[in-house]
């Protein structure tokens, strides 16, 4: 099982170590540093590194490498999942998962790690259980603690720990009962030069924020669940019921959680919201080239496209770019050869355009490769898979009588 954990920052400093079994010397990380060196980019460090006596499984999050050491055959996915959970927990507790916050809260971090793993076996990884055991730091609480001398550590056994619904604690009370569900969809699409879709898929998640008293039992149903190719549920969802009735039935955890994620690969359902007209050409002589990019809306269903960013990976011989943007700003980094054009909001009346010349290394042959364009954008209040999101309905099987006799459900659907 998981033997030790080392946290290493981008500069290669090892700033935290935790051992769950016997202590393993930090020199084992030399193998990691070696691999890190070889990979050049931090993203490219191989996730599983073999050393003569150990295996190092690492993830890279928020400029921190979480390097775990294992000694025996352990499912690597298990370790990677756990490391992600650690990172998420830090994020949850401290608002961000960075070297400075971890250092600022080192004792809590240590207590958390101790609570999450026992002898390498995961013990408590559910955020609400952890929060009962070790309360997250808040300014108010630390002030109260200093005055009253009470501590951050819960004195009693978390109620969720043993019930069949470990994700929810008992005795939750709210004066305002409310539940929010956010449907966040990401399209991932590859288009070819002419704009034809080579590949497209939708990756969606439903994030929930449920603040309901007692033990509520909720259902959520889709109008057209057949669209979903694959779903992964939070453990609270009753899978049997989904199998038979295609209804998501669950007792929610308290607070924020990800209810489910889904995957839609049917390409005809994926409407690409923008189009791009591009013309990037290099001249045979004169070491220069021309660039002309225009972005326009395609199928946005009347919603505004925001946060539009176009990234172009230029060939190596491109030295600099002298361009003119009708909207937004552009920046060309001659080291990484990446041109970033930050457009912002897309105005359908006046289409943004980036135009100008590129200068190449003199004497170098005309580059053969076609630069690939990468377009990031956001659309609020629109689920690309359309037919799915607009028909979500939420029901309530059981709402216990809370402090207010009539339970009030506020549902916000995007």
């Amino acid at each position: 099982m998981i033997h030790s954990l080392f946290l290493i920052n981008n500069a290669g400093d090892l700033f935290l170590e935790k051992h769950w079994k016997s202590v393993i010397s930090r020199s084992v990380c030399d193998y990691f540093f070696e691999a890190r060196e070889k990979a050049v980019e931090p993203d490219n460090v191989p996730p599983v590194i073999r050393t003569p006596h150990h295996y190092l499984i690492n993830i890279y999050r928020e400029k921190i490498f979480f390097v775990s050491v294992i000694q025996t055959e352990v499912p690597p996915l298990f370790v990677i999942e756990f490391l992600h959970r650690v990172a998420e927990t830090f994020q949850d507790y401290f608002g961000e998962c960075s070297e400075s916050t971890i250092k600022d809260n080192v004792v809590i971090v240590y207590e958390l790690l101790e609570e999450m793993l026992d002898n390498g076996f995961p013990l408590a990884t559910e955020s609400n259980i952890l929060k009962e055991l070790i309360r997250p730091p808040t300014i108010l609480r630390s002030m109260v603690n200093t005055i009253t001398g009470s501590s951050n550590v819960g004195e009693t056994l978390p109620t969720g720990q043993l019930s069949t619904i470990p994700w929810r604690r008992a005795g939750v009370k709210y004066t305002n009962n409310e539940a929010y569900f956010d449907v966040v969809e990401e399209i991932d699409a590859i288009l070819d030069k002419s704009g034809t879709t080579v590949f497209a898929e939708i990756q969606g998640v439903i994030d929930a924020c449920v603040k309901l008293s007692g033990m509520p039992d909720l259902t959520l149903s889709f109008m057209n669940p057949r669209l979903l190719d694959d779903v992964s549920f939070h453990p609270c969802v009753r899978y049997k019921r989904w199998e038979s009735e295609r209804v998501i039935s669950f007792v929610p955890p308290d607070g924020n959680f990800q209810l489910m994620s889904y995957h839609i690969s049917a390409q005809n359902l994926v409407a690409i919201p923008v189009y791009v007209k591009q013309n990037i050409s290099f001249f045979e002589t004169g070491s220069s080239g021309r660039l002309d990019i225009t972005v326009g809306p395609k199928q946005t269903m009347g919603k505004t496209v925001e946060g539009l960013v176009v990234t172009v990976h230029m060939p190596k011989v491109v030295l600099s770019a002298n361009l003119n943007a009708t909207q937004g700003t552009y920046n060309y980094d001659p080291v990484t050869k990446i041109l970033v054009w930050d457009i912002g909001k897309l105005n359908p009346q006046k289409l943004p355009n980036l135009k100008g010349s590129l200068s190449l290394q003199s004497g170098a042959p005309k580059p053969e490769e076609n630069p690939s364009l990468n377009i990031d954008l956001k659309i609020q209040q629109l689920a690309i898979s359309g037919r799915l999101g607009s028909f979500i309905s939420v029901g309530c099987d059981s709402l216990p009588a809370g402090p207010c006799d009539k339970a009030l459900l506020l549902l916000t659907l995007f």
Partner: protein, 928 residues
């Protein structure tokens, strides 16, 4: 108010200050001090000097303080074992606390203190906690057993904790079950044969119930445990699959992959025509696709596993090609894996898309990725025949880019394409030759040289090209040198007139100026071949090469089956069996897929029996003859090429048959009848009768034993010892040969004189004069226990590869078992090869007799045989020596006999028997 303040006190006397604070009366100050200590500890500062002071703080009602002290204890107890004893009392007391949280915390912490003295005190509290009323304490205690086992395995066994742990599998709380399974699995890993996880349908049912209710991590443990179970029949297998399938929709990808493992394994048992089988296949695809939208690290592990799954069951993902298309922002390790899977999934249906993608990839920036993409195009060409043409033109386009590494990779793969589709795409050679100068990598140079040599007749200036390489011969890598040598010899054989000088030059470079034995030996072989028999050289060097297939990069099936059982583990990431790299896994059991129910499918998963005995791999030795064969086979040409060159020696062999062979068969110097008339004539050069084992040849056919008039079959010599136990690590082999009902059999007695059990027997012959080869695998069904002897009859065929042996009837045998490979040689009686239809027609006999030149004739005497001609004739007939005619001339019986050998050689004999004279005279005649 952050913890970073704990790091700020770096001035002198820090330890002293902390000590004072730890001993302070104020709770709050104490706690702050312990926090400072912990903070120092986390960054690796040595604060062990504070041990007694920190332990003093342990007796407190403040849970946070207690936890902090425990953290400290776990870290430093090892270095201060005597002090750690001080803490024991508190631990024992805490194990009885009213608060289950404290009970669990105490037993958990105690287990983490790796000090023997403390461990002794742990047993009693642990025993109580394992039976605690609170499941939280029980589940913590279960893990504690695993910890204790890690420290002192004997203690755990003596105290009976393992049995208690096994009982916990039936616990009412799923979390306890999961932890018990996890602990048992970990303990079992260090005890491979202990059968700790004794799985039966009842426990499986318990596990499946717990599976639905426990935490995600618990589900992983349970699924991994389920995967090691072997269902009794396909129905049980199906019901387990049904209950595991919901796990495919779990948010935790490790759960998903473990579930995939269970399903992939148990699916093997389901009959393929079952509806459920198809449903299951369909259900497996979406979760695998979803894994690819996770974080890159997860994707990587998932892709490595998908690679295995695709090889085992390509049908699952055959429509999902597009999800494996590379995204520009994938880390390189993900890109390379995706590429691999794309090729595995490539088929006629999707090849156009794949090629378009690959062509794009080949213009990317990352060199490794580009190289692999170019190689992938070549692999597509070899895999999908219809696409070969398009692939070649794509490669040509890429060569036009003149990007150095692209060109080199392209040339390497084009060489393979030439080998797969000979005489189809040679028109591109001209383009390739244009790029000759830019090649600087050995592999590309070697590939190019191979192409030039192979197609020398089509390249006008082949000699100039090769000569240009020759200039820097000694600076080239071995790979290039070897290739250059072969290429020039090929060129010489194709255009002998212009290239004599070149070939001389390369041969002298290779044989005289090189220190590399491989190169030198190859040089000498060519030299001798060319100088003795240029025709043979042509046949050898320019022999037709076997086609390469697309399967070359697939994982070997038995390994694949084992890896499928290890989906989701490190083994699956490295594509190696766990025994190859996991430390301390001496006895790791090789997992196998279960056999499928129903007979029709048995071909799909051969020899996956439930127990050891039937695991003898049927194809350890490929039919081409690897073991001994390779020792003698020259690696410069495929085995088929050597057959023609053997032909002449076959002629010689046949001559010997008369010159020496029959001599000994009917040897004239044999003294006693018991030894047989074929006993070894010592003076016979190159004879086959020089070893006593063959002595029994024809002579024994005349065996007098009992004087039975009509022998029922051919003579079988008694078994002699071929392989001594001391030479073969305890395996003794004795044997003999027999011909029964027209089938040649090798009767073996295998005796195990070692202390351990022997399994996995296999046999292989080296090439021999008459092409004897095993007609089937060596059937040793049960493991051979010490001091046990087993008799095996191995049928032989005469269709194996032929090579003249010295002596002619010598046979070199390799026997393999689980311990090693052993070699021995034995000699078979020639009579083994006398076929049943060896009776020649009288007229033919007469005509043939006259036609045979005198050179082929030999004469011997057989002494001391007291048989009359009829009895002798009968006895000989039993061994397929047929009497064609008999006449009596001047009191002498003349027997005319014919024999046909398995390779079609006829031997005619005239035997003169003088009544009363125990000496026979034999005139042998041979016709091919």
């Amino acid at each position: 108010m952050t913890d970073s303040k704990y790091f700020t006190t770096t001035k002198k006397g820090e330890i002293f200050e902390l000590k004072a604070e730890l001993n302070s009366d104020k709770k709050e100050k104490k706690k702050e001090a312990v926090k400072k200590v912990i903070a120092s500890m986390t960054v690796g500062k040595d604060v062990s000097a504070l041990f007694p002071d920190v332990v003093n703080c342990m007796q407190t009602d403040n849970l946070e303080l207690k936890k902090l002290v425990y953290l400290y204890l776990m870290n430093y107890a090892k270095s201060q074992p005597d002090m750690a004893i001080m803490a024991v009392n508190t631990f024992v007391k805490d194990c009885e606390d009213l608060n289950p949280l404290i009970r669990a915390l105490a037993v958990r912490t105690m287990g983490c203190i790796r000090v023997d003295k403390i461990t002794e005190y742990l047993c009693e509290p642990l025993r109580k906690c394992l039976k605690d009323e609170d499941p939280y304490v029980r589940k913590t205690a279960a893990v504690c057993v695993a910890k204790l086992h890690d420290i002192n395995a004997q203690l755990v066994e003596d105290q009976g904790f393992l049995d208690t742990l096994k009982d916990l599998i039936s616990d009412s709380n799923p979390m306890v079950v999961a932890n018990a399974v996890a602990a048992l699995s970990e303990i079992a890993e260090s005890h491979p044969n202990s059968n700790l996880l004794d799985l039966n349908p009842q426990t499986i049912n318990k596990l499946l119930t717990a599976l639905n209710e426990c935490t995600e991590w618990g589900q992983i443990f349970i699924l991994d445990c389920l995967a090691s179970y072997l269902p009794r029949d396909d129905r049980e297998s199906q019901s387990i699959c049904e209950r595991v399938t919901p796990r495919l929709s779990h948010a935790n990808s490790a759960v998903v992959l473990s579930a995939v493992k269970v399903l992939m394994k148990f699916m093997e048992m389901l009959p393929k025509d079952l509806d459920y089988y198809g449903t299951l296949l369909k259900k497996l695809a979406p979760p695998l696709v979803t894994l690819l939208s996770a974080e890159p690290e997860l994707q990587y592990v998932a892709l490595r596993n998908i690679n295995l799954i695709v090889q085992k069951r390509p049908e699952i993902l055959k429509h999902e090609m597009k999800v494996f298309f590379v995204k520009y922002n994938d880390p390189i390790y993900v890109k390379l894996e995706k590429l691999d899977i794309m090729i595995r999934l490539a088929s006629q249906a999707n090849i156009a898309q794949v090629l378009a993608e690959l062509k794009e990839y080949a213009t990317e920036v990352d060199v490794d990725f580009v190289r692999k993409a170019v190689r992938a195009i070549g692999r597509c060409a070899i895999k999908v025949e219809q696409s070969a043409e398009r692939c070649v033109s794509t490669l040509l386009d890429l060569i036009q880019t003149k990007v150095n590494y692209v060109v080199q990779e392209a040339i390497v793969v084009i060489k393979d394409i030439f080998r797969k589709y000979p005489n189809k795409y040679e028109s591109v050679i001209a383009t390739l030759c244009e790029n000759l100068d830019s090649l600087d990598e050995p592999e590309a140079r070697a590939a190019m040289i191979w192409i030039v040599g192979e197609y020398a007749e089509r390249i006008d200036n082949a000699d100039e090209l090769l000569e240009s390489f020759l200039e820097g011969f000694h600076d080239e890598s071995t790979q290039v040198q070897l290739q250059l040598l072969t290429a020039i010899v090929k060129l010489f054989l194709k255009k002998p007139t212009e290239t004599q000088e070149l070939v001389q030059q390369v041969l002298s470079l290779a044989t005289q100026d090189s220190d590399n034995p491989d190169l030198r030996d190859r040089g000498y072989i060519y030299w001798r071949l060319l100088s003795t028999d240029p025709v043979a050289a042509k046949e050898v060097v320019l022999a037709e090469k076997p086609l390469i297939s697309e399967e070359t990069d697939l994982i070997e099936p038995t390994l694949l089956e084992e890896l499928i059982c290890h989906i989701g583990t490190l083994a699956s990431v490295y594509h190696k069996p766990p025994s190859a790299f996991v430390e301390g896994s001496r006895g790791v059991q090789h997992k196998r897929l279960p056999p499928r129910a129903g007979s029709g499918e048995s071909t799909e998963s051969p020899d996956v029996g439930q127990s050891g005995p039937s695991e003898a791999p049927p194809a350890v030795i490929p039919s081409q003859g690897d073991l001994l064969g390779d020792l003698l086979n020259l690696d410069l040409a495929p085995p088929t090429a050597t057959v023609p060159s053997v032909q002449p020696s076959m002629q010689m062999g046949a001559m010997d048959l008369l010159g020496g062979g029959l001599d000994s068969l009917m040897g004239d110097e044999s003294d006693t009848m018991g030894a047989g008339l074929g006993a070894a004539p010592a003076a016979m050069p190159a004879s086959l009768g020089s070893a006593p084992a063959v002595g029994g040849g024809l002579g024994d056919l005349f065996d007098l034993g009992g004087g039975v008039g009509m022998p029922t079959g051919s003579y079988v010599a008694p078994k002699t010892v071929w392989l001594l136990a001391m030479k073969a690590k305890g395996l003794e082999i004795s044997g003999t040969f027999a011909r029964r009902g027209g089938i040649i059999q090798m009767d073996l007695s295998l005796t195990n004189k070692a202390m351990s059990v022997m399994t996995d027997f296999a046999i292989q012959f080296n090439r021999n004069s008459f092409g004897l080869a095993p007609a089937g695998p060596l059937q040793v069904l049960t493991p051979l226990s010490p001091n046990q002897t087993i008799d095996v009859s191995l049928p032989l065929s005469t269709s194996g590869p032929v090579m003249k042996m010295e002596p002619l009837n010598n046979l070199q045998v390799a026997v393999k078992n689980n311990i090693d490979v052993f070699y021995f040689s034995c000699q078979y009686p020639l009579s083994l090869l006398f076929v049943e239809d060896g009776k020649m027609d009288r007229q033919v006999f007469l005509a043939t007799w006259k036609d045979i030149p005198n050179d082929n004739e030999a004469q011997f005497q057989i002494k001391d045989i007291h048989l009359n001609s009829d009895v002798a004739s009968n006895k000989l007939q039993g061994s397929n020596i047929f009497t064609i005619a008999k006449r009596t001339v001047e009191g002498q019986d003349m027997l005319y006999q014919s024999v046909k050998l398995t390779n079609g050689i006829w031997v005619l004999a005239e035997m003169r028997i003088q009544t009363g004279n125990p000496n026979y005279t034999v005139n042998g005649n041979k016709e091919t």
